[in-house]
C-alpha cells in the first residue's frame, strides 16, 4: 500500500480541490484521509455518509474539584498562563488559557486537581461517492490540530486500506510547517506539493520542502494558476530542477476550480476541458512516480 500526501504550506492554492480530483480518478482503489482538519473541506466534495463516528481526545486540561479545594492559591501562583482566575471566590480553570502542563496538579497539597483528557472534536469513517471510504475529522472551537489527530486519521485510513486491500491512500495534508504537517509526512511514500506563483506561494513552498527533505521522501510539484505570474513560475521551475523534485504539471488559472466546488463536484467530474486532461495526466504521473 502506498501513501500519497498532498501539502501546500499556504492556503488557497487549490490543494483540496486537486486531492479530491485524484481521489475521484482513483475511484474505489483509493482510500482518502483528510488531515487538513483546521479547514476540513474535502467532505463537501465527497458526499460522505458519516457511517462511523467517535470522540477524539488530545492534550489535557486541568480540573479543580471545588468540593476538596482549600483555597490555598498554590495552583494560581505557579500557573504561567494566567489560566486560574478567581471567580466568585473560587479558583476556576479557564479552558481557553490552560495549556495542560499539569504543574498546578503537581503542587496542589490535597490533590484536588486532576488533568483530564481534552475532548477536541470528532473523527469519522465514511463511505463516499467514489465507492471507497474516507477518514475525516472535525475540531471544536479553540482546539488545535495536533500530530496526534493527524496520526489517528492516517492510521485509521491505513488500517482500512489494508483490510480492504486497496493500493493507495491519498492524504489531504495539514497546512503550515508545524507538528501536524510533520505527522502528515511521516510514513508517506510520495509527496505532492501544490503551489501558486505568488511571492508568498513560492516562499511557503520552499519552507515546507525543507521538512520533506528531512524525511527523505520523494516529491513532485504542481504549479496552479501558473499563468498569473510567469516570472515567479519560472523561478519555481528552476527551484524544482535544483532540488530534484518531479515537475508534475502547470495548471492554468481557471475558474472551473470554483465552479466545480460550487456544484459539490471535483474538477474532473465537472469540467470537460483541457484542465480535466491535465489533472488526469498529473494523477497518472503521480502513480508512476510512486511505483
Amino acid at each position: 500500500m502506498k501513501e500519497i500526501v498532498v501539502i501546500s504550506g499556504k492556503g488557497g492554492t487549490g490543494k483540496t480541490s486537486l486531492t479530491a480530483s485524484f481521489a475521484y480518478l482513483g475511484g474505489k482503489d483509493v482510500i482518502v484521509a483528510d488531515c487538513d482538519v483546521d479547514a476540513a473541506d474535502m467532505h463537501l466534495l465527497m458526499q460522505p455518509d458519516f457511517a462511523d463516528e467517535d470522540d477524539f481526545y488530545s492534550g489535557e486540561l486541568a480540573h479543580i474539584n471545588q468540593y476538596d479545594c482549600i483555597q490555598c492559591g498554590k495552583c494560581k501562583e505557579v500557573c504561567r498562563f494566567d489560566a486560574i482566575p478567581i471567580i466568585k471566590g473560587k479558583y476556576i480553570v479557564d479552558p481557553l488559557s490552560c495549556e495542560g502542563c499539569g504543574y498546578c496538579a503537581r503542587v496542589c497539597p490535597i490533590d484536588a486537581i486532576t488533568n483530564k483528557d481534552l475532548n477536541v472534536g470528532k473523527w469519522y469513517i465514511s463511505n463516499i461517492k467514489t465507492g471507497s471510504m474516507m477518514v475525516h475529522a472535525k475540531l471544536g472551537i479553540g482546539a488545535d490540530n495536533s500530530g496526534k489527530l493527524v496520526a489517528k486519521v492516517k492510521s485509521e485510513a491505513k488500517d482500512i486500506a489494508e483490510e480492504e486491500r486497496k493500493d493507495i491512500a491519498i492524504v489531504d495534508g495539514s497546512p503550515g510547517v508545524g507538528c501536524p504537517v510533520v505527522s502528515s509526512l511521516s510514513g508517506a511514500s510520495f509527496v505532492v506539493l501544490v503551489t501558486e506563483p505568488s511571492v508568498s506561494g513560492y516562499h511557503d513552498l520552499k519552507r515546507v520542502y525543507e521538512l520533506v527533505k528531512k524525511f527523505n521522501i520523494k516529491a513532485g510539484c504542481i504549479i496552479n494558476k501558473y499563468d498569473i505570474n510567469k516570472k515567479v513560475t519560472a523561478e519555481i521551475v528552476e527551484f524544482l530542477k535544483k532540488e530534484n523534485i518531479v515537475h508534475i504539471a502547470n495548471l492554468p488559472y481557471d475558474e472551473d476550480f470554483t465552479r466545480a466546488m460550487t456544484n459539490g463536484q471535483t474538477i474532473v467530474e465537472y469540467s470537460d476541458n483541457h484542465l480535466k486532461d491535465l489533472i488526469t495526466d498529473s494523477w497518472n504521473k503521480i502513480k508512476r512516480s510512486v511505483n
Binding site: K10, G12, C101, Y103, S198, S200, G201, M261
Partner: protein, 288 residues
C-alpha cells in the same frame, strides 16, 4: 480602536484585505497594521516602508546544568510535552516543544534546570508616513505561536494609543493562536469567499466569534464567483456584510506581484470607502 481581520481557512484574501485597508485608511488617518500570522507573516510583501526598529523576541526555557544534577529523572516525568528527556547521564531540552510552564525548573530538587531566555522570533516595526507596520516572525522549528502573539500585542499597546486605528492580520483557522490574536479586538472582520469551502469555514469562524462574544462583520472576497449561499447565510444570521471585493483575474495577478489592488481597481477603493465609514463610526464609540 482594535480591528482584527480573520478567516476560517487560509487563502481567502485576509492579507489582501488587511494591507489594502490599512494603506487606504492611512491616506487620512494614523494607522498601525500588525501581522500576527507569525508562522507565515506575508503582509510585509505588500507594504513599502522604512524599518524603524527590530527586536529579537524571547521565551523562557530550561537549560540543563550538569554540576549539581543527581539524574533523578523528575524533570522528564513532570514535562507533559516531552520537551525534557533524560538520556543516560544527560538531560536534553527541546526548546521548540517547551510551553514555558516552569514545572521542570521549579520542581528540580537541585535547581539544575534554570530558566533562560531563548530567542523564538523577531519583531520588526516599519513606518511610511501615517502607516506603521509591525510584523513578528517565528524562527523555523518553533511551534508555539501564542507567546510571540502575546508579546507583539504588548509592543503595540506600549507604542500606540487609541488615536491609532490598529488593524491586526490574524492567523487562519479557529485554534488557539487565532483566539489569542482576536480576543482583545473591539471589532472583527471575517473574510470569506462565496463558495462552499468559504461558507463552511465562515460558519466555524462565526461560531468562534460568538463564543468569544465579539462584534463582527463579513467581507466577501472574489464576489461574483461561486454562488449566493454566503450572502443568504449572512442575511439569515443577520450578519453585516461590510464589503464585496469583486472576483477578477487582474486582482490575482496584482496579488502575485505583491501589489496593492485598491490603487489600480476603482471598485475596490469604493468598497474600502464603505468600510471606512463604519470603522470611523466605531472609532468614535471606542475613543469616547
Amino acid at each position: 480602536m482594535k480591528i482584527a481581520i480573520a478567516s476560517g481557512k487560509g487563502g481567502t484574501g485576509k492579507t489582501t484585505l488587511s494591507t489594502n485597508l490599512a494603506s487606504f485608511l492611512a491616506e487620512e488617518h494614523e494607522v498601525v497594521l500588525t501581522d500576527l500570522d507569525v508562522e507565515e507573516p506575508n503582509s510585509g510583501l505588500f507594504i513599502e516602508a522604512d524599518l524603524v526598529r527590530e527586536k529579537d523576541k524571547f521565551k523562557m526555557v530550561p537549560e540543563w546544568s550538569a554540576d549539581e544534577c543527581i539524574l533523578c529523572g523528575n524533570c522528564q516525568k513532570v514535562c507533559n510535552f516531552h520537551a525534557v528527556i533524560q538520556l543516560g547521564e544527560m538531560i536534553m531540552v527541546f526548546p521548540e516543544l517547551c510551553h514555558g510552564c516552569y514545572a521542570c525548573s521549579e520542581l528540580c530538587p537541585t535547581s539544575s534546570l534554570p530558566m533562560i531566555p531563548k530567542k523564538m522570533g523577531v519583531l520588526k516595526h516599519f513606518r511610511n508616513g501615517n502607516l506603521n507596520f509591525v510584523e513578528s516572525r517565528l524562527d523555523i522549528g518553533e511551534e508555539q505561536a501564542v507567546p510571540l502573539i502575546k508579546q507583539t500585542h504588548k509592543y503595540i499597546d506600549q507604542q500606540f494609543d487609541d488615536n491609532f486605528i490598529r488593524i491586526f492580520d490574524s492567523p487562519p483557522g479557529t485554534s488557539c493562536p487565532v483566539i489569542e490574536a482576536t480576543k482583545d479586538a473591539d471589532y472583527i472582520i471575517l473574510v470569506t469567499e462565496p463558495t462552499p469551502f468559504g461558507l463552511h469555514d465562515l460558519k466555524l469562524a462565526v461560531e468562534t466569534m460568538k463564543e468569544l462574544k465579539k462584534e463582527f462583520g463579513v467581507v466577501i472576497n472574489r464576489f461574483g464567483i461561486g454562488n449566493d449561499d454566503v450572502l443568504a447565510y449572512c442575511n439569515e444570521e443577520q450578519i453585516k456584510v461590510l464589503a464585496k471585493i469583486p472576483n477578477s483575474r487582474r486582482i490575482a495577478e496584482l496579488y502575485s506581484q505583491g501589489r496593492l489592488i485598491y490603487k489600480e481597481i476603482p471598485e475596490v477603493r469604493a468598497e474600502l470607502e464603505k468600510m471606512k465609514d463604519l470603522i470611523m463610526g466605531k472609532m468614535k464609540e471606542v475613543v469616547k
